[in-house]
Symmetry: D2
Subunit: 255 residues, 4 copies
């Protein structure tokens, strides 16, 4: 079982609530995914804009909400958003996303580190979303992050694990759970991340933007389980040299 | 459900019997895999060498044996081996493997085509193992192959899908089922092959050579299901441009 | 120096004449490439259709023409085309291309082997274009091919070396020169093929379809030279473990 | 011509002085590379340890030295090292390398940004070595970096461009020159980086650790030129669909 801060999770598939065509479909997909941790953008839980409120659709036994700070540009804004979320959702968990870049939504390493330290001091369980930067991940850990969330590829790109070499270093060095976030486009990407030794993956766009989000959610659920099992079963090494598996020739020669 | 010739399969994971450390472990792993089609090298079922006989371990409801001709070097040897297998195992199914190359066990396109035509004429259900060669696959289909089995990478290499571009062409053009065979090293590779639209995959070394073959077999089972589901759920396109998922800034500005 | 049959080449960059916007530009690009062997489709040298005749633009010291059989679908058609070319161009060299598939122009392994044997018997210097199939390449060599031309990716795709693993096996096993043909999209692809140990590369689309074909031809010329030099200079092994190059800390500590 | 701060460069290949087996070989290789900017670790120019002094071997027309701070762990140490270098080498150029991690020598984003701002304020021409982090690169530019040096892969790994997707974003967004540093293992990697639009590359291990460093230096020189030319000549797009280059069949049918 995966343990982050005070919570344990049977499912290593974390999900998000963005980009679904409607809230009912979202609910059905999230249930099919088996996910126990779901990120919610603060704006989506805005009390004044009731129409867009998705909270009623995110309420079942075993589901935890993880408010994210998506949209903020600085550590200061992030801390402010996290405090709002803590009050609105009654959780001290927060996914920290600081991306000043409006185009590729790449995270800001410096502001993220600053906000992580401040939020940890304020009693938050902080899960920062960052580039797959091994040194930054160590520093976030030292600053009090409960887990680190390095990206596989730019958010929403579905490009897969473009950062494989760096994820391997991060996984090797990290003392806190490593959750691969962003870029995972298909279940095989998710399985691959788990095979590398990631503790969990976060998938949103790839589920929400599929033709059939519910079926895709189920596919991701199985793939993440498969990847974790494979990691535990320890694959043999890959390499070019092959040796004969079943030489029949000798047998034929003997007839 | 997958249909090849006269048989239907619920499981799209085909397996093999080579390289397991013992027959009991093999049996347990194959059961965990959920596989309904298992390849057996002819030599392994040699009646004279009773010690090595694995048939008693391959006998349960719903399991079909697929004798392979591994070790032969020519079409003539292959036909001879297939006839022996038909008699010994009372099945007209045969996995055709002709590899004169003792080092990398790469298949011979010309002898394989010749043997496929001859075996089809003799009433066999022929599943030829070949390089991921789109033209050859079409010709095998025309010669009567019941399915084609293009490789992902050299046998036993665990390198994954080194032939992706060509598998895509083969899948697009084939009128018979496409089973990706050889090279699949981890469950994520298997899921990937299924996501590309393969009808099934064949996995042997990656299960047998894992530290825990039974757990690995289960991982492959889930991964193949996941990959197939993802194919049916139709993933969104991958690409670099991202659009904001949840702009909080506007929300913050409005406060 | 590269030697194929009776000819030696200083340049390891072979080129083609297709897809240029006009003959003058083609001539200028081919000269800039430094290429000494240029393929010409038989149709382009048709004497009856004078307008399309490019031969006058392919006439300078040190340039050899390599007629190709592009467009034929069978060994028989290929032999017929080769004989026509021998007469028209007064060369017994022929690049053998047999692709019944009109969509991806993938080569036919069986017809190519048959035609190679027949043409070699008729005194041709045969350079067959094939899939990167190690067994087929050995058989072509045995059938009398003067060199083998495995593809990197489908013709005209510019996808690069999608067949790397198989090219490495082919290069390791071949007794005749290996010329990587088709799919090379940029000079870095060409350099990479040479670094793997290819004896030469053939580039056409990537030069002809560039915005500035003459400059691109020059770029390929340098890249092929660079790749060959790198192969001869023997690169150090690649791998993740790094060791400090220049530890300053100790120095600082000593101050 | 490439312009960084007050200097212009005809060569877009920057080199380093580490890992050569002796100073004479280093000198010969650097001359063969055509490089006009060479990094030197501060320790190597320590006046008290005369034996290791390589400065006499780095003295020819058109060669500029770029002292690096390799080995420092903090911004403070980096500034101190840069000041030492400025005095010793009479140059205000400095390559900023801050890597607290002794194993993979991955750079520290936060300390690097801090040191860049401080050094720029002190009048240095700062070239910071960083992870391929698009947001960090923009911040370094704003802090006064004269160029940014994102890595292709961990230093000394020779793994090539593992950060391709992120380098493309950095190149698209940067207002200062982008120099790809670290990880480049072969000339084809260097050509590839230039084709992506990098302004220059820095190569050290791949030259110094080759069997024949002088020949490898020459190979890199050509490859960098080739890659730049290809970038300027604008390659055609890559993709799977092929169209016939030279349909002979019609011609044959007409006979």
């Amino acid at each position: 079982m995966l343990k982050i801060a005070d919570k344990t999770f049977r499912s290593r598939l974390f999900t998000g609530t963005g980009k679904f065509s409607n809230a009912t479909l979202m609910q059905e997909a999230l249930k099919a995914s088996g996910s126990e941790l779901v990120t919610v953008a603060l704006k989506r839980i805005d009390m004044q804009a009731k129409d867009d409120d998705i909270l009623p659709y995110l309420d079942w036994e075993g589901l935890h909400l993880l408010p994210n700070t998506s949209g903020v540009r600085t550590a200061e804004e992030a801390v402010f958003a996290a405090e709002l979320a803590r009050e609105a959702l009654e959780t001290n968990w927060v996914k920290l996303e600081i991306h000043p870049d409006p185009r590729y939504l790449m995270p800001d390493p410096v502001e993220t580190l600053k906000a992580t330290a401040e939020l940890a001091k304020r009693g938050f369980v902080v899960l920062p979303y960052v580039h797959a930067d091994p040194v930054l991940c160590k520093r976030l850990e030292e600053a009090g992050a409960a887990a680190v969330m390095p990206l596989g590829a730019p958010i929403g790109s579905n490009l897969g694990l473009e950062t494989k070499v760096f994820l391997e270093i991060i996984i090797e060095q990290s003392q806190v759970p490593v959750v691969v976030d962003a870029g995972i486009g298909t279940p095989s990407d998710a399985a691959w991340a788990m095979e590398l030794g990631a503790d969990a993956v976060l998938v949103n766009t790839a589920i929400a933007a599929a033709d059939d989000p519910v079926l895709m959610a189920k596919a991701f659920r199985l793939a993440v389980e498969a990847g974790r099992m494979a990691y535990e079963a320890k694959p043999a090494a890959a390499g070019l040299k092959a040796s004969p598996t079943s030489p029949l020739t000798q047998f034929l020669d003997e007839l």
